[in-house]
Amino acid sequence: MKASEQRELLRRMLLHRQIDTRAFQLNRQGRIPFALGGEGHEAAQAGASLAFMRGQDVLVPYYRDLGLALGIGLPVIDVFTSLFAKKADTSGGRQFPSHFSNKALGLVSISSIIAAHVAHAVGFGLAMQYRKERGRAVLCSFGDGATSQGEWHEALNFAAVMQAPVVFFCQNNGWAISVPQSKQMRINDIADRAIGYGMPGSTVDGFDPIAVYDAVHAALERARNGGGPSLIEAKCYRFLPHTSDDDDRTYRQPEEVETQRTRDPLPTFERQLIEKQIYSTDEIALLKAELYEHIDQALEEAAALENPSADSLTTNVYAGTEKAWL
């Protein structure tokens, strides 16, 4: 991989991490009621997002995909308008944070209902296929828990039968809130589920952004060229509680988290880039400071924006202004 791309990977990972840190700070400060972080998912999301072709591909993410959304071009300020539930938020302040919508970027609106979006991704893929738009594909992301849902199964089977250009990207962080993988399923590798659909499946180290990039890139390329769907499992870990409302000490040992922290992809990848002489320690420090500055500005800018007005309650229910009783 080119040095510039590796630098970009680190930039995306740092941006993701720093925003999460700020969001949880805001929550602790009482400035926002809710935060949801992706610490431990940065490498997976940076790698996958780098494989995404802007202006071509479509991303159907899930709620923990801040890094993916940023990676495909979501402006940082949109994260904060979302956290502050501002009028300018892409959902107009209607949705929880991290439920972005940006059609121009190919970033698809989702609900919070686990796995409900996976079939939508297939629909996007089939629309591309129907219009014979070779060179485009859909990246659809979800967690390990999501693969227990019936809707997930139906979507993967459907995609396989129709050979839809969709890459199903599972970020397996080992937990679905308090439920560990061992209680969620009786297999080690979620990628094995691909066998039952007749599509390629592979497992990659989700702490290694380059490995993730390689796997997702290859799968997207195959999909873009009519080779059909595939399933990629990136094994990562959730360092934070499920959300700011969760207390993960009720269900997992702090030692487990600490052990995983020793493998934190951020310092690891920083070290690698320094070793490869792609970045110096100082350059990384500078980059972090720049990102901090950028985030800080976006945060304060967003905080100063207008809140939604009560009138907006009733807009965008239908195209027109229909009511139930006409």
Binding site: S111, I113, Y130, F158, E322
Partner: protein
Amino acid sequence: MNVNNVEAVRATLHDALTRDERIVILGEDVGARGNVFLITKDFLQEFGPQRIVDTPLSESAIIGVAVGMAMDGLRPIAEIQFADFIFPAFNQIVGEAAKTRYRSNGDYTCPLVIRTPYGGGVRGALSHSISIEALFYHVPGLKIVAPAFPADVRGLLNAAIADPDPILFLEHKKTYRLARTDIADEAYTIPIGQADIKRSGTDLTVVSYGYFVHLALEAAAKLSSEDISVEVIDLRSIRPMDKTTILQSLSKTHRLLIIHEDHAFGGIGAEIAAMVASEALFELDAPIRRLCGPDVPAMGYAHALEDAYMISSEQMATAMREMVQF
């Protein structure tokens, strides 16, 4: 053209497919089999498997995939083989399709038609006889139509296909081959949300929809020989519903009888009665009456059970007589 309801649906779908490349039909057995009622017979040959999609047996994916297609600019027409099989897709319809526009603040929309045959009286037994309208009509973001005559079927199906929002298009199985009428060849539309006075009268307003409008008209015709003048309103649209037509009729007749096959409790008649009790209470010369299906989980297979479930035109006539004599 001179058509029954099956043929009206078929002809209208055919025209739409010919007219608009964005239209794709998907469902179980809609391809080679041409749908279990032969509504899409020969479409596969004419339009090909990219547009007439035989799906895997998975209702949730049928709707979910269609939602994705609709979000991406296609105009999917999804079929649920029998309304009884729509529940596995409830999440996609109520949770996803109906909320797409709202949750993305208008960025994404969901122009989707879901067609499904419903209703009893056809020896469909416990699981091929259901009325589902009341399980969906409470849902903002969704529209529901239930035409019962060929001309309405065509006009409302055209309107549904042109509509930018998700629509449940209900076809009563008992009306499929009930009668043939001459209807216009052009692709005319009937606005969604407009009821139709199928028979004018002065003594009593009967509001109904679906197959029972046919029976109510029979009953009303019978009563005219007894000098009882019954106005029969065919709702046609369940959501949005037409307040004006109902209230105007009541300002003339001052008596309201609501008839539907679906059970009363929480049914369509509940909302109609509530609206009238709020907006025209002092117009009423008699209590509002609902003549509805029995409060049991399903229609039975045995003749006696089916007959006991369905309301006959004689029973309707009796209720009309009682209302007028009140």
